[in-house]
Structures are given as C-alpha cells and as structure tokens.
Symmetry: C2
Subunit: 425 residues, 2 copies
C-alpha cells in the first residue's frame, strides 16, 4: 500500500483523485500495490469538487501533510515558485517523503535545491506533470533518450498561445479576439499574462534544457518574448512564406554555451511542429543517436495532467528511483548562457511610410550589419498612410539583427518598432 | 561497473558498441556507474565492423555469453523467434543475467515465457529496441501512460513500407519500383517479405497490444495484410478522398474482445499519422486520461536502435526494475480475439468491365450485406477494356464487408479480386 497526500485540489488535484479511483484496480496491478489517498488539503473544504473525497482526511494547512504519520508521498499541486507550494515541497522532502509536483515555476526556480534535498533525504523528486501535461516528456528525456547527447530541444509548450495563434491563422482573428475566445473556453488563467508573455513556456524550457544538457535549470538566462505583438498580418505573411507562427521554446548547446529562447517563431510547413494546432503541445528533441524524436499530445487540462502525476506515483510504487534531473544534483553543470551568439534566419515586419527611399534606408542598415536580405514582401499601397513591409533574411547573427532593428526603429519613416521573428530551420 | 555482453554484431550491434564508447562519460554519469563491454559474439570475427572492439573478449558461441563470470547483462541482437537467439535469451535469464533484446519476433512468440523466466530468476527483461527503433514507445506505454486505461494503439511501425507508400504517392512509382528504391537505399532485408507482407508490423503490434491491455502477446490472432496489392491508382484515389495510404497496425479492446489488424489503410489528412512520411515510424496511443499521444521518430537504423538498447542498459544500471509487460507475467490476461466484429468505413477498388449493370450488381451485393455506399469514383472510360471503380462505404461490419468482397469477386464483370482497405477515422 502506497499512501499519498495531495496538497492542492484545483482542477488537476480533483483529476488526480478521479483517476486514482476510476482506474484503481489497473493502477494497483501495474504499481504492484494499491495506491491510497490518505489526506488532502485544498483552499476551501466546502467547495463542490468533481471527485469523491470520502474516507480521506481533510487537512486545512497543506504544510502539515508531510508530518502526518503513514504518508509515503506528497503530491504538490498548489503552484507558484514561492510561498505555500515551496513550503509544502520542502517539508515533504525534509520529512523523508517522496515529492511529486506539477509545479514548473517552483522547479525552474528551486529545482536544484529541491533535488539536493531529495537526495540527502533519500527520496524521489518527480515532476512529469510540470511540462507538457499528458506528454511524458520528462521520462522520455531523462530515461528514454538517456544514451544520447542531446543536440537541441524545442517545443510548443503553452496550449493557450498555440490556440490563439491557430485561431488567428485559420479565422483571421485579432490577438485580442483570439485571447477572448481562449478565455471563454477556459484555456487561460484569470490573468493570462504568464501564458501570453511567454513566462510559462520559459519555465518549462528551463526544465527541458536542464534534462537535455545535464545542467542546472537557468530560467534567468532564457530570452523571452510573448505573442502580444503578433497580428493577423503576420499569420498571412507566414502563410505566404510556407510557414506557421508558433510560440516556440528552443534550447541548444553551442560552442558559445547554452542558448535558450522563447518567442513567436516562423516554423516551415515541412517541420512536424508546424502541424501542431489548437491547444496541443509538442516537443521535438534531437539526439545524436536517436535522431529527431517528436512527442505530441494534450499539454494541459485536468485529465492529461492527472495522467502524468499518476505515472510518477506508479513509478514510486514500483520502486523506481532516478535523480530528478537525470544525474545527481552535485553533478549538474552550470552552463554559460549564450546570448544571441547564434545565427538564424529572421522575419521582420515593419510599418513604413510609403515614400521613396525607405527600402534603401532599411537595406543600408542591414548591409552595415552584414545581414543579407532573402525576400521583401509588401502588402497594399498608399500615398498617405503607412504600409506593412516584411523582410526575410538569410542566416544572420542574432546580435547584429537586434542592432539593425534598433536602428531601423529610429528611422523617421518607420511608424512603430519592427516586429522581429526568428525563422526556425 | 555494469558489465555487458553483446550477442550479435550486425549493424545494430556495432551501433551499440559505438554509442557506449562515444558517449561513455555521459552514460556513466546518467547510469550512476560506467558500462563496460566485456564480451561480444558475432558471426564472423574477421569481418570489418564500424566499431572499436579492443579489450573486448570475442566469444565464438553466443550461447556461452551467459555463463561467463562477471557478466551482468546480455544484449541479444541476433534476431529470429527461434534458434540461437532464443537460446541466448533463455540462457541469460536462467543464469540470472538481465536480458536486453531488440528481437520483436522472439518477444511476440515467447514473450510471456521469457517474462516468467526473468521473474523467477529475479532479473529484468527489456525490449525497448524491439518496437519502433529510436522511439521510446515501450517505456511510454509501460510507464509514462501507466495510469491510463488504454483505448487503442495504432502505429506506422515499418519504415520500409512507409517509404514505399510515400514514394508511390509522391512520385507515382509502382510498388515494384518503390521497393527497388527502398532496397537500393538499404531499407530492406535481402528478403523483403517480412516487411512488405506485414509480419514485422504484426510482431510489433502484438507487443504494443500486450502493453496496452495488460495481456499476453497474441500474434496468432493478428489479421495481417501487406502492401503488395497497392497500386499508384490507390494513392491517387486516396488523395482525391483527402487521405493518405499507410500500413497501419491497429489494436483495440472492444466489448467483443481484442481486435488486432495490420493492413494498408486510408488515413485522413487530418490525422497526425497522415503526416508521417518516408522511413519514419509513429505510434498513436489513446488513453482514457492522457487523451491522444503521438510519438514520431526514426523507426530503424543502427543509431536509433542503439539509442533504445542503451536506454534499457542505463535503466538497468540505475536499478530500475519493472515487469516486462507492465504487470507480472502471471497476471497477464488472455484476451478473446475479436475477429472482424468491429464496424469500419471501407475503400474498395475494383477493376470492372465497362458494361451496363455492373454497378447495379455491386450495389445489390452491398445492400444485401446492409452496407451503404458513401461515394463511388470512376477513372477513365473504355468500351472494350476494364476500368477502375472505387467505392467508399459508410460504417460497415467487417465480416459483412468481407462477405461482400467475396461475392463481388465472383461477378463475371469483375476482372480481379477487389482491393479492400479500411478507412481509419
């Protein structure tokens, strides 16, 4: 009998309870022992929840779950990098309980400290549910690809953003309209900024990069850009360029160090990531022996996330122990961040006054930064108003590209700061 | 130090040696101990191989590897359900050595007996490399989705067939031409029949079904059809129907029992499986909580397969122990095979004499079997020769459909036995 306590009974917590009850027999057979929910803690005891909590102790203070006698595993589903969630996690590990968490923010901020704590207390820290919901990408990277030197990992890690970008592309909605639709469908938090500004993706990317490269998660060095500036026009231009726009998290280890960036990206139609629509998530890992491996599935929601939490619980019941980030915490490297040292192709959308010489000015700036133009697209024509112009470049140094954007933004004939997207090859 | 012995030094065996050497340091860190190749056995000691075998014992008879002192793990890469491969595997388990194998035929035929043997000798039987090469689908189903009741699993599990069908579709090649191209690229065995007649896919499907449903692998009840009868015309018709043709292995648990079939299938363009081209493999699993999860990647080749073998080795070094098929062998169910009890949509291509009344005859046969026609397509027109006609049906009982095909094949106006493909929804 494996006895668990659940801290946090939001939609994911209730989903975990449902799954453990609904598939109890099957889970016991696979786990080698029954899994029993001994105690739970949520914000409001009287709230109606879509799960059966009979014969389960209700504990008001989740921080006390770890000290309850007979508990083997604490499941932390509260969320947030600090505060109660962190205390619940630390209390559990210090008390010698295994910790299962879906908390990407906590892990990205304090993953190494928690992994050390788990190791010194000889318990397991598991976080399959923290990245990409029902997609078992943590296990895949930590175990399935363990023989590989990972070259890169990239993913569509936020279903809300992918839904918004998909709807903008297929229905021509504005960003605001698509966001409203996502909110109506329950895809977003009350405050959607963590999703649409890319921070949620950055947390997940930092965890994937840690697993990929055997390094400490380094959230601070992730370059982050959200999707607020994307317009339906970008989706149209992307279409003309045989691309889709996706909010991509990309981590690569180059000779300059660890490159991690999150931002809306032009993905060629031929890439498997271009096919991932709606609220789906996907992760593409390139290993030196496995080659390209892509996983796609439900990245959020009560059921898929519960599936990931319960997979961790079954692993624990089976006695599976593995360092949280694949190698012992003391061996995790501190990689040098490589900020914009890489070369990429770019898409730059500008709103320009339709006057002679504008393109010459822009071209000169690019030439001075040694950036060569691949294509120039223009939509519409107007004597008085501004028109959108898109330039795509050949491979350009990321730093030079940003310098060029700064200069172009300063031109009198440019109406607003250019919108710069990377083109993924 | 984990000491391994490798039986079989073909391209996969050499790939495993290369991987263990090339990534030795990284593997030792992740495994928690170095992995040492102590002994190998291959068919010809003097053959030039693309790997470094210095300081490794060469053993002529692979069956003797298990009894060598100091060996912890035997890696069986010989292949074949019987003979030496089976003896190597059984010797290893009986001698209390862990067994890692890439041998789908062995597992599909004797998996339960081997799993029992492993359990009674308290060692691990691992076979990640047996299905879909570098894609960690065994681990995903056995562990990543362990909380789920699996509804269905379907896959493109043979890269050779997928390559042939892709080339027939994109270049209009005949089956024979595409096969020749696959052979020239080294995608096929000297005798390609195991690939193109669907037996390789059936072996893999039987293993996936066993993991999905907690059942003994039941290769004998897999309905198997290969791709020899597919013509470029089928690819064209499929295109007109917004579908692609894929050799699919499908396993489902229905109220009638376990349904397992392998055959060329029309996959709608909207299915993620439709996008899998060339020699790639992909597996789509539907879980009751995780929803649809798809994995795609390299299904064959030295490097990807070595990646899977080494993942199993690292798991062993980490002390990971899990029943071969997810639950102890004694608990594996014997499921009743459900032969053609299901309902599916069908595509039937007929070569008919272009005479009045032919369609009426066919329609009457279908009506008598309670099968309703969804569409009828015809290509070309000829007074003297036969023309191809394609009928697609609404949902039809599989048994009735086959009965109808038998009757239609008996019509005097039908030139050859109709080609029947299922349409996957």
């Amino acid at each position: 009998m494996l006895n668990i306590a659940i801290a946090g009974l939001g939609i994911v917590g209730a989903g975990v309870v449902r799954l453990l009850r609904q598939n109890a027999e099957l889970i016991a057979a696979r786990a080698g022992q029954p899994v029993a929910i001994k105690a739970v803690s949520g914000r409001d005891k009287n709230k109606k929840r879509d799960c059966d909590l009979s014969s389960v102790d209700w504990i008001d203070d989740p921080r006390k779950l770890a000290s309850m006698p007979g508990i083997d595993v604490v499941i932390e589903l509260i969320g947030g990098a600090e505060g109660v969630a962190r205390e619940v996690a630390e209390n559990a590990l210090k008390a010698g309980k295994h910790l299962v968490t879906a908390n990407k923010a906590l892990l990205a901020a304090h993953g190494v400290a928690l992994a050390r704590m788990a190791e010194s207390n000889k318990v397991q820290l598991s976080f399959e549910a923290a990245v990409a919901g029902g997609i078992p990408i943590i296990k895949t990277m930590r175990e399935g690809l363990a023989g590989n030197r990972v070259v890169s990992v990239q993913g569509i890690l936020n279903g809300t953003c992918n839904y918004i970008l998909t709807r903008m592309g297929e229905a021509g909605l504005s960003f605001e309209e698509a966001l409203r639709e996502a909110q109506q469908r329950g895809y977003t938090e009350a405050d959607p900024s963590a999703d649409i500004d890319g921070h949620d993706t950055a947390n997940k990317l930092a965890l994937l990069a840690a697993l990929a490269f055997g390094a400490e998660p380094d959230l601070a060095s992730v370059q982050i850009e959200g999707i607020r500036r994307i317009t339906p026009l970008d989706l149209q231009f992307a279409h003309d360029l045989d691309c889709r726009v996706k909010l991509l998290g990309v981590a690569r280890l180059t000779s300059a160090g660890l490159e991690q960036h999150v931002g809306p990206t032009l993905v060629p139609q031929t890439s498997p990531l271009a096919q991932i629509d709606g609220a789906l998530n996907a992760v593409l890992v390139r290993g030196d022996f496995a080659g390209d491996l892509m996983l796609e599935g439900a990245g959020a929601g009560a059921e898929p996330t519960a599936s990931a939490v319960v997979a961790d619980i079954i692993d624990l019941a089976r006695g599976h122990r593995v360092p949280a980030f694949g190698v012992p915490a003391a061996q995790l490297k501190k990689l040098t961040p490589a900020h914009a040292t890489y070369t990429a192709r770019y898409y730059m959308r500008m709103q320009v006054m339709d006057k002679p010489g504008v393109v010459a000015d822009i071209s000169a700036i690019l030439r001075d930064e040694a950036i060569s133009i691949e294509s120039l697209l223009q939509r519409g024509k107007s004597a008085t108003e501004s028109v959108p112009v898109v330039i795509t470049t050949h491979g350009a140094n990321a730093k030079s590209m940003r310098k060029a954007v700064d200069k172009i933004a300063g031109l009198a004939t440019i109406v607003e700061r250019p919108c710069l997207l990377q083109i993924e090859d």
